[in-house]
């Protein structure tokens, strides 16, 4: 089995022998009777957690348990936007750490996940929005994060294809983070899986956790569809399934499950370089390296565990799209799909201990957890290894709703569907 280092040289070498020398990107591991750490959930966060645990906190015997195939959850369903343009001090350092980890990701993993910093531009349509963006941009700058406030002329120069002439809500300008952009989502899961595997992590697919085993108030293992697996520590990183999995441990989370849809068009010649978000409707868009327009909008709005959405939001999203860019009218939607969002009560995540000793939780990512993947893994690994939160994730406590320290970027309050 070859576990070659990836590089242009190995690709050229293999091209001469029909690519027969490549081995599996990760082993098909069989469950062992027990591990030091079991991570539940083979999405981006679970795999990243396993990787950073193995890299920085080892030696540890680590397994990632995935009920289906890795990357089949939200990490493979999202619209791939990464950014650190947050407002609140509880969030900015965390997402900025994530951004910095993205920036070094391909070398850290020896895997090209196509981290593509072509900019994220949030449009504003009123003086009030402009000032709110100024406040946010200034907060970012105070944290050493890049932010620029553009006026209408600068926006027009950057994205001339928007509707500047007869929009219902005229575009006045935008907040730009040049370091924001997109990352190839599947490759993130695969890259972390491969790198974790090379550090000895067992990635076990088709292994659904069905229950937690405790002794007293301590976790000792998990029941799975592939049998019992003992564990000194268990970390949950199951995103849209958080409330269901936590319920198996007797926990009720401050989380509601909602559907978010995403859309991709047929592949067309690229004309949208970065990410653009509409400030007067629920619509955001980018264009992939294959040429598909990738876009999305608002939550469907009702609680659901079904990974599908319905027409009203499809229409709502495209109304926003046509309002912003009436030239895309004859481009066709190729697919649309839904993912289940673990919407928390303040729109911000939770990375914390649980009341059950040895059980840790990583949840509440809402529709913004893809960009968080590296930092989430990094900080969750730190928490599991040291039993202490990482400095940039201190605010993501489970008890913050009880103490009144909500991290509410949008000011929507305890209405998960509005964040």
């Amino acid at each position: 089995m070859s576990r070659a280092h990836y590089s242009i040289f190995s690709v050229l070498r293999e091209s001469l022998r029909g690519h027969t020398g490549w081995g599996p990107a990760w082993r098909e591991a069989e469950p062992k009777p027990d591990y030091d750490v079991v991570i539940v959930g083979g999405g981006g966060h679970g795999l990243a957690t396993a990787f950073y645990l193995a890299k920085h906190h080892g030696p540890l015997r680590i397994a990632v348990l995935e009920k289906g195939w890795i990357g089949g959850g939200n990490v493979g369903r999202n619209t791939t936007i990464v950014r650190s343009n947050y407002l609140l001090p509880g969030n900015i350092p965390f997402y900025e750490l994530s951004m910095q980890l993205w920036e070094g990701l391909e070398h850290e993993l020896n895997y090209n996940a196509m981290v593509s910093q072509r900019g994220v531009l949030n449009l504003y349509h009123s003086d009030g929005q402009r000032d709110a963006f100024a406040r946010r941009g200034n907060a970012m700058r105070l944290h050493g994060v890049d932010a620029e406030l553009l006026d209408q002329a600068a926006v027009r120069k950057m994205v001339p294809f928007l509707n500047f002439e007869n929009g219902r809500f005229p575009i006045h300008g935008g907040l730009l983070q040049r370091r924001g952009g997109t990352v190839r989502h599947d490759a993130v899961a695969w890259g972390y899986a491969r790198a974790a595997d090379r550090l000895g992590v067992d990635i076990i697919q088709n292994c659904e956790v069905k229950g937690f085993k405790r002794e007293g108030d301590r976790i000792v293992g998990v029941e799975t569809t592939r049998g019992y697996i003992g564990a000194k520590k268990v970390g949950m990183a199951v995103a849209g399934s958080s409330s269901r999995v936590a319920a198996m441990a007797g926990l009720r989370l401050p989380i509601e499950s909602h559907v978010l849809q995403a859309f991709v068009s047929e592949s067309i010649k690229p004309f949208i370089d970065g990410v653009v978000t509409f400030g007067a409707g629920h619509f955001y868009i980018s264009q992939s390296d294959k040429g598909g327009l990738v876009f999305g909008g608002d939550l469907d709005g009702y609680n659901s565990y079904a990974q599908r959405g319905n027409l009203p939001v499809v229409e709502d999203v495209l109304e926003g799209g046509m309002a912003l860019m009436p030239r895309i009218g004859r481009v066709r939607m190729l697919r649309h799909w839904g993912g289940i969002m673990d919407m928390s009560m303040d729109g911000s995540p939770i990375i914390d201990h649980t009341p059950v000793s040895g059980l840790y939780i990583n949840a509440g990512w809402c529709y913004g957890g893809f960009k968080a993947t590296p930092a989430s893994g990094f900080c969750f690994a730190h928490l599991i290894a040291h039993d202490q939160p990482h400095a940039v994730a201190k605010a993501y406590r489970l008890d913050r709703f009880a103490t009144g320290h909500a991290i509410d970027e949008k000011g929507m309050g305890p209405h998960p569907n509005l964040h």
Partner: protein, 1002 residues
């Protein structure tokens, strides 16, 4: 016998058969492809017309830029994609196989340079050993900076198929909703039989079909029904259905998605077959069809076989060959090799022979076939090669021959210009899987059949695995009867039409081993069988991994001709069965849908409705500049001749209000009417301040919290009667407050007797503000009403009449800090009242003022508004801590006491003025201690609202500063790097005008 190219009226269409087909030969249409003009007939698709003209090279492949032609005759087409039309109507990636020709049609090939014939990007083929599946994940990593600068731009330049138009789409799109007892999806023989059975009751029946004409495969195959050609039976049924009042036939309509609750999304291509949509007619229409019962009769799609060079122009699906001959009267080739693993090979041989083509050979991978097939082959003079496979194709831009691997292991070459291939059929089960149901594998039919069906759905015809004509008619009739019965109608017995059942025997053949050249699985995305082997080697064995790693099935056809072959090949490599290997799940839409169709009329100016305040017309006449405030268009300011900018105008408006009187339309504020015996108790639980003592005829300022103790909204509460209250909200929260109240009334306290009605649109309301406001009102208010300060003091409210008997409400409220009133009249009098007020105000020097002046004056008075009510502030944060009742329980009371919300370190409301009074302030600036470094640790709050204060002669601002109220007199930095600002400001009281509040009382 029909022979190509000699008929009259076919112009120069060399491959048009002399007879046959359903095109209208009496008319000729002209179109261009890549600049060259051709002719066709109404009824042709672009593909059939190109075939008629002998054009076989229609495009280039995505990655390797290999020459590609027409593979299919339907919406599954992966290769023949063109840019249709020009300019603002340019449509990239249009399938030539479904685009109907019209006179003047312009089509272009795409993704090639400089021309289709000579495409330099074809060098990619030479690099194909490197460009295998997933190669980009392994390289382009050094140096990092080059990814965005070099590698990715190069990839993006090569990416994409056609070009989107760079002008706004000029066409319109419609939306419609329809309700059906029985929806029949698919107008082939099964669907028609089902629709007929359902239609003979009174049930509301809707029949949709993606094609322009009904009939489906039965017509494509030139079969007989009841002893006559199938299309005659189709015509009779169509006539009956068309004349039935309970039936709606939607042609050119694709049901693209199954949604919850029996809802189907469908798109009707109303005008795509015309050069330009007629005036007032949309290009396309989105249908949301809600059906009690649905008969899915969506047919099946033929599978290609994976062999070397199977993508070369001239290699075509066998069923498509029959369609081109039977439906369109064109001949796709003159020397054909038929390559198959099933008994349909026979009908293809027969159709070709009938059309005058030479059938060189029938290559059948099965060693044993029926005598009937043998007989047909021999009658056609075709060589019969049993147990043999096609390993490769010869030729460059068109097939000139094939290499055969015979049963005895010999290699043979055959000359031909057409390869008609068939690997069997895949039922079109997509609509059964959109809600998550998993299909099941059928080992005899060698295909996936629908699993558990969505509620209310049943199947008929090929989608159910009934591939033969006779079975489609039997199945269709009984599915139609069953559906209509389930929908609650008494079924009428319908005779089943008769047709022969050909043999549908099939044996597995997914790929030809050791192919001669590249063997494509997904033609559009250039995924070969060796890519699948590579994916397997690298561990991407789960079907979804395979798809995502190789991009198989991700192209515009969603892998309709690729997925099952890929799965079968993966199964073969890994030694598992197909069901063990997995299934691929389709996502909506079934075929791609134009984005404009999904948006309908809600675009550009009509994206959202525009709400106009009652004085809109008057304001417009008076030169007002408006501003979007949510959906409202509110008067912003009223410039007068000679004023050089908005600031000068606003200064004048403010000064006028402060010295004389101004009029402002405040109708956009939310207004809610509450009545019922428990209204007082209800409001007392909603508002944070006490309201129980509010007497009739008085109003009070109030604030309400969210459940989490955060300030939600502020406004006024007026008590009009014992059990009658009228409250106002901010403009932004008008809807939210009503929702909140309804939630409380219906869910939290259903026992309370309170009725809540939004009255925002019902009342026009104007603020009349300034020292002369009462004098002005005196001119309007009918004399019977006493509005002197004694009779109508500050915070009074009364129901009065104005202008000689018009019902009105008067409130003595002030946002500006001046003596002020708000006067409300039924909205229909709003315009008239504005005119009267303006007229009557002349003698007092009155002016109208807009949101700008309103904003300036509220900032001067330290009143909070949107920027302070931002969903994260507590009453204490914004200086309203004193209003919060300690004597009662109310929403937000308990959670508002959480430590995080009562922390004294929280930023609190304070006023600011620039140290250098000539400097301007900007909201959004953050506060730092005067000499502190600009770092996150030193961040102490931010400026929320600023205005130039004419009363003070300099800029003033409000903001939230850590421990702000304790820091009056301190100088702090207002740091605004995104706008290049860094201003020293002085912390002052947030009230910049009349701090004692004497003016409001007059």
């Amino acid at each position: 016998m029909a022979t190509p190219g000699q008929g009259s009226g076919t112009g120069s269409q060399p491959n048009r058969l002399e007879t046959g087909g359903l095109v209208d030969r009496s008319r000729i249409v002209r179109f261009t492809f890549d600049g060259k003009t051709y002719t066709g007939h109404p009824g042709d698709t672009l593909a059939s017309a190109l075939i008629a003209n002998g054009v076989s090279l229609t495009g280039r492949s995505f990655k390797y830029h290999r020459p590609r032609g027409i593979l299919s005759a339907g919406s599954e087409e992966p290769n023949a994609l063109v840019e249709l039309r020009e300019g603002a109507r340019r449509e990239p990636n249009t399938r030539a196989t479904v685009a109907e020709v019209f006179d003047g049609l312009v089509a272009r090939s795409q993704n090639r340079w400089p021309s289709l014939d000579f495409d330099v990007m074809a060098v990619n083929s030479l690099l194909s050993p490197i460009f295998v599946a997933g190669f980009y994940y392994k390289t382009f990593m050094w140096p990092s900076a080059l990814w965005e600068k070099l590698y990715e731009p190069a990839i993006r330049r090569a990416a994409g198929l056609g070009r989107a138009s760079d002008e706004a789409d000029p066409d319109t799109y419609d939306k419609a909703t329809a309700f059906a007892d029985v929806l029949v999806i698919g107008g082939g023989t099964a669907g028609l039989a089902a629709a007929l059975a359902a239609a003979r009751t009174n049930a509301r029946v809707i029949l949709v079909d993606e094609n322009a004409t009904l009939g489906g495969r039965g017509v494509d195959d030139g079969a007989d029904i009841n002893g006559n050609p199938a299309h005659e039976w189709v015509r009779t049924v169509e006539a009956e259905l068309s004349s039935a009042p309970n039936v709606r036939i939607l042609r050119r309509t694709t049901a693209f998605g199954t949604y919850d609750g029996g809802t189907y999304g469908a798109v009707e291509r109303v005008s795509d077959h015309l050069a330009v949509a007629a005036q007032g007619v949309p290009r396309q229409r989105l249908w949301r069809i809600v059906a009690k019962e649905t008969v899915l009769a969506s047919g099946a799609t033929e599978r290609p076989v994976v062999f070397g060079g199977n993508d070369r122009p001239g290699v075509m699906l066998a069923g498509a060959v029959r369609t081109y001959i039977n439906r369109f009267g064109v001949l796709p080739g003159r020397r054909a090799v038929v390559f198959t693993n099933n008994d349909y090979g026979a009908s293809t041989v027969a159709a070709l022979k009938r059309a005058g083509a030479e059938v060189v050979a029938l290559v059948d991978s099965r060693a044993q076939i029926s005598d009937e097939v043998k007989r047909i082959a021999s009658e056609a003079g075709a060589r019969l090669l049993l147990g043999a496979v096609v390993t490769g194709t010869l030729g460059k831009k068109r097939v000139t021959g094939v290499t055969i691997h015979t049963r005895t292991g010999e290699e043979e070459r055959l000359d031909c210009d057409l390869v008609a291939m068939s690997g069997g059929w895949n039922p079109n089960i997509q609509l059964t899987t959109h809600l998550g149901s998993k299909p099941t594998w059928n080992d005899k039919l060698l295909c996936f059949l629908p699993g558990t069906l969505p509620h209310g759905m049943s199947l008929a015809g090929a989608v159910a695995g009934d591939f033969t004509l006779g079975k489609t008619l039997v199945g269709g009739t009984s599915a139609g009867s069953a559906a209509v019965t389930a929908a609650g109608y008494a079924a009428v017995s319908v005779p089943v039409p008769k047709a022969a059942d050909e043999s549908d025997a099939v044996a597995p053949l997914w790929r030809v081993k050791s192919p001669n050249g590249k063997a494509f699985v997904d033609q559009q995305n250039d995924v070969t069988e060796s890519d699948i082997e590579l994916a397997e080697r690298e561990g991407f064995r789960a079907v979804e991994h395979l798809k995502r790693y190789t991009t198989l099935g991700m192209a515009t056809d969603q892998g309709r001709t690729a997925n099952v072959n890929a799965l079968a090949i993966m199964a073969e490599i890994t030694g598992r069965t197909i069901p063990q290997t997995g299934i691929t799940v389709a996502r909506p839409p079934y075929t791609p849908v134009s984005l404009g169709t999904l948006a309908g009329h809600h675009r550009e100016k009509h994206f959202k409705p525009t709400r106009l305040p009652p004085s809109y017309r008057w304001a417009k006449e008076n030169g007002c500049v408006f501003v979007e405030t949510g959906l409202w268009l509110r008067p912003s300011y009223f410039p007068r001749p000679g004023e050089k900018d908005w600031l000068e105008t606003v200064k004048r408006e403010v000064t006028t209000v402060r010295n004389a009187v101004g009029i402002c339309d405040v109708s956009t504020l939310g207004k809610v009417d509450l009545q019922g015996a428990d209204t007082a108790a209800f409001l007392d639980r909603i508002y944070m301040n006490g309201l129980k003592t509010l007497p009739i005829g008085k109003c009070r300022y109030g604030g309400m919290l969210r459940e989490d103790g955060i300030l939600m909204d502020d406004g006024t509460v007026a008590r009009l009667g014992e059990n009658h209250y009228f409250i106002t909200t901010t403009t932004a929260n008008a809807v939210k407050v009503v929702q909140h109240m309804e939630y409380c009334a219906q869910w939290l306290w259903p026992e309370l007797d309170v009725q809540i009605v939004s009255a925002t649109e019902q009342w026009a309301q104007y603020a009349v503000a300034g020292p002369k406001s009462r004098e002005l009102l005196q001119k309007i208010v009918d004399p019977a009403f006493d509005i002197t300060d004694a009779g109508f003091p500050y915070l009074g409210v009364g129901e009065i009449t104005v202008c000689g008997g018009i019902k009105a409400r008067l409130f003595r409220l002030s946002f500006s800090g001046e003596r002020a009133y708000e006067i409300g009249v039924p909205a229909r009098y709003g315009d008239a009242l504005m005119r009267r007020l303006a007229e009557a105000g002349k003698e007092f020097g009155a002016c109208a003022y807009g949101t700008e002046a309103l904003g300036v004056m509220r900032i001067e008075k330290g009143h909070i508004s949107g920027p302070e009510l931002n969903g994260t502030t507590t009453p204490r944060d914004v200086g309203l801590g004193g209003m919060v009742s300690t004597k009662k329980d109310f929403i937000g009371h308990v959670l508002g006491k959480r430590p995080g919300l009562v922390d004294p370190e929280r930023p609190a409301l304070i006023g600011f003025r620039p140290l250098d009074r000539s400097q301007r302030l900007r909201s959004g600036a953050h506060f730092l201690k005067r000499d502190a470094q600009a770092t996150a640790e030193n961040d102490e709050g931010y400026m929320t609202s600023v205005a130039y204060s004419p009363s003070n002669g300099h800029w003033v601002g409000l903001g939230l500063l850590k421990r702000g109220p304790e820091r009056i007199g301190e100088i702090v930095r207002a740091y605004d790097p995104v706008r290049g600002g860094d201003t020293l400001v002085e912390v002052v009281s947030p009230v910049f005008v009349d701090p004692e509040g004497v003016r409001v009382r007059g």
